[in-house]
Amino acid sequence: MKNWYMLTLVGKDQPGIVAEVSQVLFKAGGNLGEASMSRLGGNFTIMLMLHMETEQESVRKLLQPICEKLNLFFHIDNIVADLHQHIDPNYRLSVHGADQAGIVATVTSSLAKSDFNILNLESDVGGSKEKPVYIMHIEGFANCGREELEKSLQLLKREKQIVMHLIPIDTMVG
C-alpha cells in the first residue's frame, strides 16, 4: 500500500542537497508531492511530501545514510495528502519595521481574531547587524471585510511602530 509522508530536513546549507535527496528517493520508487524549501538564517530547510509503497521505517533507512553524509537532521511523519484542495488567498499583508520580539505573535493574533486563515507566511531579518529590520509577508483568506481587518491592525501599527499594508487579492480566472 502506498503511504504519504511529510519529510522535514534541516541542516547547514550547501549546493546539491535537493538533488541528492530527491535522487535517492526517486531511485527507491518514491514520488514527491508538494515541497517548500527555504534558507533560514543560512540553514537549509525543506518540507516535502513523499508518496511511497513502503513503511516509515524503510523511509528512515533510506534517508539515514544520505542525511548523515550531508549533515542533515531529518524527521518523518505519516500524513493525509489532501491534494487538489488549494485555498486561494484573498488578502495579503506586508509588514516591516525595526526588529523586535513579538511582531509575529501580535500581528498573527490580531488576524486570528478575525478568523484570518494564514496560507503562506515568509519573513526575513534584513538591514544591518546594528539596526536589524523585520520584513514579513502573509497571504491568507478571511471572510470579513478589509475595514474590519484594517481596524484591528491600526492599533498594532502604533503600538509596535511597524508599517503594514493590507492588500486585497482579486484573483483573475480566465
Binding site: 506586508s94 492588500i167 487579492i169 482579486d170 480566465g174
Partner: protein, 165 residues
C-alpha cells in the same frame, strides 16, 4: 445553443497557436453564442478563449463587469485581437479554467491598447487598464498557445504595493 467542455492542461491543443478568423460569418457567430453560454456557466470566470474549447481560432471573450470596482468595458467579444501598445507592469494573481486547483502570480502590462473585430466584423479599439487589461492579456496568451504557467513569477514577495491584485 450549446455548452462546450473546457480543455484541461496538459491537453496539447492548449499549446498550439490559433489561426486568424478570415470571415466573421454566421457560423462564427453561432460558435461565439455557444462560447458565451459556456462562459455564463463558469462562476467567477471573467474570460474564455476559443482554443480552451478546442477551436484554434483567434476569438476571445472578456467580461469583468461582475467586478464593477475595476474599470471595464462590459461584455467584449474580440476576434483577431492585437495588442498595439502596452505600458507598465504589475504582478497579480491568476487562475485558469484549463489549470484547475492552482493560482499563481503573473506579471502583466498595466495598460494596453488593443485592436480587434467584434462579432459583427466591425473593427474596434479599446484602451484597458489593470484587471481588465490582465484578463485580456491572459486570453490572448491562449491564442498564442501560452498558459499563465508559462509566465509565473517567483513565490517570494517584495514590498512594493501592487494595484491590481
Amino acid at each position: 445553443m450549446a455548452q462546450f467542455e473546457i480543455l484541461v492542461y496538459p491537453d496539447e491543443r492548449l499549446q498550439q497557436v490559433s489561426q486568424p478568423v478570415v470571415e466573421v460569418n454566421a457560423e462564427v457567430r453561432n460558435f461565439i453564442s455557444d462560447l458565451e453560454e459556456t462562459l455564463s456557466f463558469l462562476p467567477g470566470c471573467v474570460g474564455v478563449a476559443a482554443p480552451q474549447v478546442g477551436r484554434l481560432d483567434r476569438i476571445v471573450i472578456v467580461d469583468i463587469s461582475s467586478r464593477p470596482h475595476h474599470k471595464n468595458h462590459g461584455h467584449l467579444v474580440l476576434i483577431n485581437p492585437v495588442v498595439t501598445f502596452k505600458e507598465g507592469s504589475a504582478v497579480g494573481r491568476e487562475g485558469c479554467l484549463s489549470v484547475p486547483d492552482y493560482t499563481g502570480k503573473v506579471s502583466r502590462s498595466k495598460s494596453i491598447e488593443v485592436t480587434a473585430q467584434n462579432e459583427l466584423g466591425t473593427h474596434v479599439m479599446y484602451k484597458m487598464v489593470g484587471y481588465e487589461a490582465r484578463a485580456l492579456q491572459h486570453e490572448i496568451d491562449h491564442l498564442d498557445g501560452k498558459l499563465f504557467l508559462d509566465r509565473l513569477v517567483g513565490k517570494r514577495n517584495d514590498l512594493k504595493k501592487r494595484t491590481d491584485f
